[in-house]
């Protein structure tokens, strides 16, 4: 019996990464039920990275002749934004899209399908140390390196957008372009290598058996199938990393006002606490989204609180000392009164922190474990990985979704060059440029975010002084800040 990968089983338990090597799976003509349908690109996973890849391929005259398929286990239509969605509620899964990501979405024609009234650009970022209060502020005016900002220069640092809005925009664009065979609500039952028959030798081609009974052979199989990527397992590509023993608590918040800069100058806030950074990112109107990374115990506590106590804890998180916060997490309930009392004794400059949270949208408090993972390589023979299948990052810099968009754009460029020069788009040679374009860049970003996390986990001692000095020094130096902001914006 040749090795066979029952994919659904592997999603539940972490796979023994290198057990199933491509080479071991070679099989020969003997039990051929029917020949598989031949595709140029089969993308597994209909998240933002996979959809962006397909839209990019179909939007380009060079690659739109490729025969492509998308396989998504969930119902894609159910994950779409309602056309008449009102602005009184927002999803708790939001991302900060960099100008580079937005530019790519514009180029592939997807951005105009987004619901713009639900997108919030922000122009300023306030980051401070919860232990020493050292602070850095980012905006394009103070980050300039040479002369005053020209009116044509951007003022937007990034765009807050619900993931469902990004996905809906990409799906809208794909429908407009057509030419993608979409298998929605369809599972991949197994992936194995094709057969060597008299007519064709598909022994290097991944053949996917789908839950709808169909069988697809892929010239290039793209794994856009998330952190536990079955495609990565099939290709035998190990992924290394660790859990931070931290959870990210998310929630949609209603604030007491539009923010200190008014509706036209929105500010993102991030406070580094020893348990992890907490961030409040602006959404349209008086809304904001919370990403609070903290210990699993505290995350569980926060989720168990009443909405008034939860709101009090979020307000406290941006105002009170780490010691106060530690105590507040030990209380079974009654945080609201306790926070009110302690705030009277903690003077803060209200204009330097987010306006008070008034309410939390019901049902939006959730948490997820934080991990860092990086695949050893993004490509194998007839396999490429994009997005979370290739890398999972600490969310503190909001780069996860942007990295996936960068992957998709780079893979489109690689495929496009291969098509123009007659290369087999699934060959390792043709895919080399994708791996070299993305691996080092993603690895650097993963490293920086990981180091930042570790740096700010320290509560006392010389490191607190040094990191505060570093933050203040960067803040005082416009050109250096400009460099950091350009990196964050995805520029050169």
């Amino acid at each position: 019996m040749p090795p066979r990968i029952p994919l659904r089983a592997h999603q539940a338990i972490p796979p023994p990464a290198v057990r199933f090597r491509l080479r071991l799976q070679r099989r020969y003509a003997s039990t051929s039920p029917s020949a598989p349908e031949i595709y140029d690109v089969v993308c597994v996973g209909g998240g933002p990275a996979g959809l962006s890849l397909l839209a990019g391929l179909k939007a380009s005259p060079i690659t739109n002749g490729l025969k492509v398929a998308l396989i998504e286990g969930q119902d894609l239509q159910r994950n779409r934004l309602q056309k008449d969605a009102n602005l009184d509620s927002f999803s708790n899964r939001c991302s900060s899209l960099t100008p580079a990501s937005v530019k790519n979405l514009q180029e592939i024609g997807a951005w105009r399908h987004a619901n713009t009234s639900r997108i919030q650009p922000y122009q300023e970022m306030q980051v401070w140390d919860g232990v020493s209060d050292a602070r850095i502020s980012f905006d394009w005016d103070t980050a300039r390196s040479l002369g005053p900002r020209k009116p044509t220069q951007p003022t937007t640092i990034a765009y807050m957008i619900e993931n469902v809005n990004t996905v809906s925009a990409l799906l809208g664009r794909l429908e407009e372009l057509g030419g993608v065979d979409i298998f929605s609500s369809t599972k991949v039952d197994s992936i194995e290598l094709g057969k060597d028959t008299e007519q064709l030798d598909l022994s290097s081609w991944p053949v996917l058996s789908l839950s709808n009974g169909r069988s697809l052979a892929a010239r290039l199989l793209v794994g856009a199938d998330g952190a536990n990527s079955p495609v990565r397992t099939f290709a035998g590509i190990p992924s290394r990393g660790f859990d931070y023993s931290r959870h990210g608590v998310v929630a949609t918040l209603k604030l007491s006002g539009p923010g200190w800069g008014g509706p036209d100058h929105k500010i993102a806030y991030q406070r580094f606490l020893p348990s992890g950074p907490m961030a409040m990112l602006p959404m349209p109107g008086n809304f904001a989204t919370l990403v609070w990374s903290t210990t699993p115990e505290r995350a569980a506590k926060l989720k168990s609180l009443s909405s008034t106590d939860f709101v009090a804890m979020v307000n406290a998180g941006f105002r009170l000392s780490p010691t106060d916060l530690e105590y507040l997490h030990t209380l079974p309930s009654g945080q609201e009164e306790e926070v009110a009392w302690r705030e009277q004794h903690t003077p803060v400059n209200e204009r330097s922190i987010p306006v008070r949270v008034a309410d939390v949208q019901a049902g939006t408090v959730a948490s997820f474990p934080l991990r860092m993972r990086h695949a050893d390589t993004y490509t194998g023979e007839r396999v490429a990985l994009v997005g979370d299948a290739a890398h999972t990052i600490h969310p503190l810099a909001g780069q996860g979704l942007n990295q996936g968009q960068g992957d998709a754009a780079a893979l489109v460029r690689t495929i496009s060059h291969a098509v123009e020069t007659g290369q087999d788009i699934g060959s390792t040679l043709a895919l080399e440029s994708y791996n070299s374009a993305r691996y080092a860049e993603n690895n650097a970003m993963l490293g920086v975010c990981d180091k930042l996390h570790r740096l700010y986990s320290v509560e006392s001692g010389p490191i607190v002084g040094l990191r505060s000095l570093g933050l203040r020094a960067v803040d005082a130096m416009g050109p250096l800040k400009g460099f950091f902001m350009n990196r964050a914006a995805g520029g050169a």
Partner: protein
């Protein structure tokens, strides 16, 4: 001039092959690793996209219109099929005929072709184990090929002049002969024989015989003397370890170069 001195023997003796038997056995030995992307043919694989860039450049720069679809290619000295396969995959290609005198590499080419359904389509890509001398010539001018390619071959044949005489009748009027080879200079001797084969080991030992190299000026002179041929174009390329092949203007005088000439009538 090496080339002009040999052209007198020309195409009158078609049975006398310009193929060097020691070259055939050398490439027989290399056959199995032809498609290994990190094997001995890696430099050829990396160069392949540049061949298409050069052909596109020639065809688009041409003052009179070239056909843009249903192109027919003849690839001479196709080896394991690196260029032939890629030409057959292009959307504007009608068919590719690829020939090589080395039987072992053609077996590799045939086996590799079966791995791609696009190439396996009838008539798309045809391999023939023959030398150019034994390939039947077109009876009418229109039966010639739009693109006749000769990549990294000229430096391996014994008598380039007679060899080219056999090739030119296969080019359709308006079509192109495109080739790449290495200039015969002291730099190319150091780079290809000493550095690539002996020091770095990135090219299999015994691949190159420097004495057989042909200079760009020699090719130009040869085609200046041929009525009905013109619009000559050149592109010099250098292999930079770690970066790949790079176009370097002027390097055609002393290194690897592409050369194209059009049959204008």
């Amino acid at each position: 001039m090496r080339l002009s001195s040999t052209t007198s023997s020309s195409a009158e003796e078609p049975s006398k092959s310009t193929v060097d038997p020691t070259e055939v056995s050398h490439f027989n030995a290399l056959a199995s690793s032809w498609w290994d992307p990190v094997g001995p043919s890696r430099l050829l694989h990396l160069m392949n996209p540049l061949r298409h860039n050069f052909i596109s450049r020639c065809r688009s720069a041409s003052p009179s219109a070239s056909p843009t679809s249903n192109l027919r290619y003849l690839d001479i000295g196709c080896g394991g099929g690196i260029f032939a396969e890629s030409a057959a995959r292009l959307p504007h290609t009608a068919s590719v005929t690829a020939i090589d005198p080395t039987p072992e590499v053609l077996k590799i080419a045939e086996a590799h072709k079966r791995r791609d359904p696009t190439l396996a389509a009838p008539g798309k890509l045809t391999y023939i184990n023959t030398s150019i001398e034994d390939l039947s010539q077109p009876r009418m001018l229109e039966e010639g090929y739009d693109v006749v390619s000769l990549f990294e071959v000229l430096e391996h044949v014994n008598a380039p002049g007679p060899f080219l005489e056999h090739i030119v009748p296969h080019v359709k009027p308006g079509g192109w002969l495109v080739l790449s080879t290495i200039a015969r200079t002291w730099t190319s001797w150091i780079v290809t024989n000493v550095m690539a084969e002996d020091v770095l080991g990135i090219v299999p030992k015994g691949t190159h015989d420097w004495g057989k190299y042909v200079n760009e000026a020699e090719l130009r002179n040869w085609f200046y003397g041929k009525p009905g041929w013109g619009e000559m174009k050149t592109m010099g390329v250098i292999y930079v370890p770690g970066f790949g092949w790079k176009e370097v203007t002027g390097s055609e005088g002393w290194g690897n170069y592409f050369f194209a000439v059009r049959r204008v009538e």
